[in-house]
Chain length 494, copies 2
Amino acid sequence: MTNFSPSRPISTDDVPAWDWEIDVAVIGFGSAGACAAIGARAAGADVHIFEVASGSGGTSAMAGGDIYLGGNGGTPVQRANGFEDQTDDFYQYMLLAGGDDADPDRTRIYADAALDHYDWLVEQGVTYRMTHLPGKVQAPGTGDCLIWSGNEDAWPYREEAKPCPRGHLPEVVGEMGGRYLVDTLAASAEEKGCVVHYDARALTLITNADRTVAGIVVRIDGAPRFVRAQKGVILCAGGFVLNEDMMRQYAPQTTKLAADALSGGHDDGSGIRMGIGVGAAAIHMEELFLTLPIYPPASHVKGILVNEAGQRFTNEDAYPGRVAVHCTRQPGKQIFLLVDDEIFEQPTEFSRIEIAAVGETWDEVESEIGVPEGSLVNTVRIHNQFAAKGEDPLFHKTEKWLKPLDKPPFAALACHMGEAFYPYFTLGGLRTRPSGEVLTVDGEVVQGLYAAGRTACGLPRSGENYSSGMSLGDCTFFGRMAGGAAAARSADGA
Amino acid sequence: MTNFSPSRPISTDDVPAWDWEIDVAVIGFGSAGACAAIGARAAGADVHIFEVASGSGGTSAMAGGDIYLGGNGGTPVQRANGFEDQTDDFYQYMLLAGGDDADPDRTRIYADAALDHYDWLVEQGVTYRMTHLPGKVQAPGTGDCLIWSGNEDAWPYREEAKPCPRGHLPEVVGEMGGRYLVDTLAASAEEKGCVVHYDARALTLITNADRTVAGIVVRIDGAPRFVRAQKGVILCAGGFVLNEDMMRQYAPQTTKLAADALSGGHDDGSGIRMGIGVGAAAIHMEELFLTLPIYPPASHVKGILVNEAGQRFTNEDAYPGRVAVHCTRQPGKQIFLLVDDEIFEQPTEFSRIEIAAVGETWDEVESEIGVPEGSLVNTVRIHNQFAAKGEDPLFHKTEKWLKPLDKPPFAALACHMGEAFYPYFTLGGLRTRPSGEVLTVDGEVVQGLYAAGRTACGLPRSGENYSSGMSLGDCTFFGRMAGGAAAARSADGA
């Protein structure tokens, strides 16, 4: 019994002896795992957390830390800043953000409960400053809270749901809010009596003869330990962005990007692989959060993006995640951001956006970057002509981000795939109910198995429509749900 | 035991009695199933085929019947028409046609064996006429054989592999060659002693305690029958294009298309669901063969396609499958094919392409279809200017399909998604070895289980790069491989 594979479960018959017999085993101690543990413990369960790293955090600790919250008339921060966010607008926006296969049940539950979830986060010790940052910002590190973190005021979303800022950043100055968020949640879990095992790698699931999940094998100090989880195993082991074999088979579009995988170091897909191994469905495995930070500086949003044919292809004021997905659909790898002297500022270093060409006329720029003669010049001409009237009939950019690019010198900035910074993580994962119960392809429950965070396919399941804060919102809220549901399950599987 | 679900296997312990004890059970009697049965029988196995319909054929019978073959200096038909097709060119083209996750092993085996496969098809009774149809045709129903059925001479493929026609249509006049092809293969299978059960629905797999596949439950005359397949079960049950739940979760981009699913009537994903249920990985589930028949008439390939912003987006001389995938990536649902009087012919009725606007100038057409002022006019102007020189620096259309659109009257033809004919079927399926052995997400073999045809993810796995004839080539060749591999497996799983 030394050769374990995540996708090959073992039978209870093959367990030499149980090292632990507990109610709920949580795999992974990022934000989803912490909240699952708190949720299960709050429902009275005996909870052990098994984390492969030597500390908590997972990939959540790498995030800016914003959580997408709203509706219910507004969170305290939204209200303090004069935003009344109706639940229906929040729900409608979240449905759009879920893409063509948005999950209405999951979205409805989240929209209805988001204000309660804000309160719950505060109860765990997360603090929010009652401030709002307008305009185009991304995790500014000022400790301010409320930001426009998605496509709320961009076309076509603004026509379907009343725009409102909903990204809630925790009160942390000068560092990533995700680290603070997950530290706070982890401390709360430990304080409530969850037992944490670090350096504990989950190896594979243990199933009964009837294929229900009975526990999990974990490797601690080099030896397999057998954990009986009488109520359930909750997989919160992150995504699969570091698993090259899975990335190639599920999301091969990443092969044209530079390796900018966003991960805390352990997104090897083991949670998803364990689920697949016991017959669960994995869905939307090709979907990625993928972004291209064309701002800061915010002024660059007034520039226009063109492909190798010298043509525009999207509204540049959309969330950079949407912009990046549209970039990957263009022919070739070259993408240029066109700016004029009035809006140009040196791009941030981390964006790796370099100046490809500068010219006194757009003809000069066109010729220098080698796009077909007349193509880029015409694109700019048509853009300028409409922008002067505050219109963008081609791609529906909002008026406030429209301006003619007519102040020389002009520049083309290289946002090429494989060169500029296109960080990404995976959105696909195990199919689950809102309760976290893992489902087969026929929609039946895999008894005893739960998943949350990026091991599951949750609220965020469409890179084109993603908003910042959706993943942590999903991790924390549906982590809680999974914990509660597992704790409420009777050990015999009813 | 009356409630069976494809994704919930049962245990051998739950089998009341074996109705049949055979070597190999083949599920589905389309082209993959027929070839799997022939392959297994040729290797000495006792083979039963279980087909849900009342006759053979499956979705293969709906196809034009072309099989993608070449290399090895050329098939007899290629040589008779003066085409020398080197294996490396064939291999290289097939790799491109497989997209970002093309399978080099599978492709190499197929490229090396394609000439043998031609001979094998002829041995089964398939006849080919030694003729070639040049130009842009699709299943013309003349009984002629060799056609350009993919992107061979389109950019960027023509730069990577020497172009050659490789679609081989069987000698059938006036009807679909797929029906003839599969009838011929089915007759061969029966003649060789394979036992066929029609009206036999596969319900779920049967597994041993160690999770190896031991057989299958099929429903015949309303009752479950238990089939012990001592060497293996080969799933050849087609794709999942008719399963609404799966389509929504795996390929939700189809929600914007009209329902033009290509299916013989039974592509409910049951084969894939059975595989997932026993822990197999399903890959590239979002990929579709999807096409937009802008020709015949071939002259329309000289037209240009524009999106709602009035911009071109692809080389129109690519295979219509590639064109269709690029259409679905455009903003909005409206796609227009612009033609002038010189190339216009009434589109075929089945294409459902209607005339959206006619004008004496492109300004008139632009205004009538409501694209932004100046945008379409500029697109045509730039296109015409380069086309007059035989160039297309924007999208690299081949010179022979380039002409200025300058002979009024001009027309815009509506190729809109949800209106024009965009037929599609699924390419995603179970991960397999070239032998047909079904694999877990960790690349381990699910003992006793094989898959071929569109139940597997085979050679065709990228809608953007697909060529006509790849799917039937994959079904027939890797069906044979799976049959041979299953027959060679010893009953104890070695």
